[in-house]
Amino acid sequence: MHKVIIIDDEPLARSIVIEYLQHHTQLELVQECGDGFEGLKAIMQHKPDLIFLDIQMPKITGFEMLELIEQPPAVIFTTAFDEYAIKAFESHAVDYLLKPFNRERFDKAITKWEEQKSKAPDKSTQDLLDAVSLSPSQSQRIVVKNGSKIKIIPVHDVFYLEAADDYVKVHTQEGYFLKNKTMNHFEQALDGEQFVRSHRSYIVNVQQITRIDPNEKDNHVAVLRSGARVPVSRSGYGKLKEVLGL
């Protein structure tokens, strides 16, 4: 038996998946969830083999929920209309069902999952998430997990980002949060007018800068409103001057 979880905010959308699932006796539905928070909890608890995941959901999107999971399970996305996401699906080998879908199409997705199960699906899911998180609607906020709590940080609340091994520290008013993405990813995803890579290991929110002081040798340091001091390399100084119009 394989464990399945359905995550969709519309009850009827879940019921159609349940109906179609009845024809696949090797799959056992362990839980259905109405939003990403419930979904995340259920995934942690049940460690399902496969999830059906809607994208537009309350508070956090399906993508944002997946980002919070260390080793996401195999995913079949179910969505009605999301131009950006569909483009991302087509270029990555994760299956997706466009609502409304019929049983044949559903069965095909299950067959595809069973065939791929033996291979490593994690990689393609990760690629997909990277691709999707560059979409304009996804780069307005950063969703992080803080212990068992989920925190949604609007990007304008971010002071600066700092590289920390495989993670990035997202510094805010309430301290920092860890996110398992790369600096390059954030440099690409965030609005370049607001966030500048001031240093190999730092991306700073220019709206938080109160002054830029010279530091030892050629380097500078950006002093933020909070008092934090963010290193600025020589090339980073050039970029900052350009964005600030100096």
Binding site: D9, E10, A13, S15, Q56, P58, K59, I152, P154
Partner: protein
């Protein structure tokens, strides 16, 4: 092509009276100078008919050829040449006609040539000037009409487009719900198909500039709300509080539904609990005031919702196109409740 000023009744009448007066006056003057009455009348008739022909020629020519900028010199030259042609033809015509039977006519004719020429030239000049003014005014009017027409067309097209922005997301999700209902509750599926059809028909058939009563708009809104309630189940509920006296007030068609749609989306996607949408309408200073409330989470609301989100931008634009005002749509956050307030000036239909 501009119409000739002579097509205008008033203008034509003035034109005819002018020429009759001119002709009589001309004959009288000659009679005063001692010419026999018959000869004076013949002289006047020949002179003025010839001049009239040339005037008509000038008017008609300006209909097709309007001088621009420096070309006005050409018009002056033309008047001069036409006057010269007129005076020489006239002199010859009068000599062979009246000159042959009237004693002492030749002397009088010879002496009066400069005066005749001056008058003819001035008259042609005046007629040219008036024609140019007439035609340029006509042209300007036409341009203005065309511009106004083009603007109106563009405005209507834009309104049409803004109204047609039916969310594909809504449509596909509704179809998905129907698909689910078919298997388990076919009667409800049938009902929802009907509601969805009525709703879609409503978006198609209404004229973009049409005004409807609040009552009609609320009926249409109800279709939408019923569909959304099937989709979201118990999470979504609505409270509509509208006094009877405002039901007959008017607003542009299909204005309310997108505002409520925006509120529902905002409420449903920004919170995880139950979403209550409140709609109330009242009168304030001759404005129909509609307030739509939805819950939201001030800590995590996406920044674009803090201003007016996309759904509201198109409403803002539509209100501007209808009323040329930008202050009719306002939003305000009050704790965890988000208010969208729209004011519709009354007294226009």
């Amino acid at each position: 092509m501009a119409t000739s000023p002579l097509r205008e009744k008033k203008f034509l009448l003035a034109f005819i009276i002018f020429w009759v007066v001119m002709t009589i006056d001309h004959a009288c003057v000659l009679y005063w100078f001692g010419m026999p009455l018959k000869a004076a009348m013949a002289d006047s008739a020949i002179s003025n008919i010839l001049l009239l022909i040339l005037s008509l020629l000038v008017i008609n020519m300006l209909r097709f050829y309007m001088p621009r900028g420096e070309q006005h010199v050409n018009i002056f030259a033309l008047c001069l040449i036409l006057s010269l042609v007129w005076i020489f033809t006239l002199r010859w015509l009068l000599k062979i006609s009246i000159g042959s039977f009237t004693v002492g006519y030749s002397t009088l004719l010879q002496q009066s040539i400069p005066i005749r020429f001056s008058i003819g030239f001035l008259l042609l000049g005046c007629i040219t000037l008036v024609s140019i003014l007439w035609f340029s005014q006509k042209e300007q009017k036409e341009n203005e009409t065309r511009k106004a027409d083009a603007e109106k067309l563009a405005r209507e097209a834009e309104l049409f487009k803004l109204r047609q922005q039916l969310q594909p997301h809504f449509l596909f999700n509704s179809l998905n719900s129907i698909n689910a209902l078919i298997g388990t509750r076919p009667e409800e599926a049938r009902k929802m198909v009907q509601q969805l059809s009525d709703f879609l028909r409503g978006t198609i058939k209404k004229e973009e500039t049409q005004w409807v009563t609040l009552q009609e708009e609320l009926q249409y809104l109800q279709l939408y709300l019923d569909i959304e309630k099937v989709r979201f189940g118990n999470r979504l509920s609505t409270e509509i509080n509208v006094a009877d006296e405002v039901l007959q007030m008017k607003l542009p068609a299909l204005l309310l539904q997108p505002i409520v749609e925006n509120a529902i989306k905002f409420g449903l996607y920004d919170t995880t609990g139950d979403t209550v949408i409140r709609i109330d309408a009242s009168v304030e200073n001759h404005h129909l005031m509609i307030r739509v409330q939805n819950p939201f989470d001030p800590d995590t609301a996406s920044p674009h919702h803090k201003g007016t989100g996309f759904g509201l931008q198109s409403i803002q634009r539509r209100l501007y196109l209808h009323f040329a005002r930008t202050d009719l749509l306002t939003t305000a956050a009050n704790g965890t409740i988000f208010n969208t307030i729209v004011k519709i000036p009354q007294g226009k239909s």
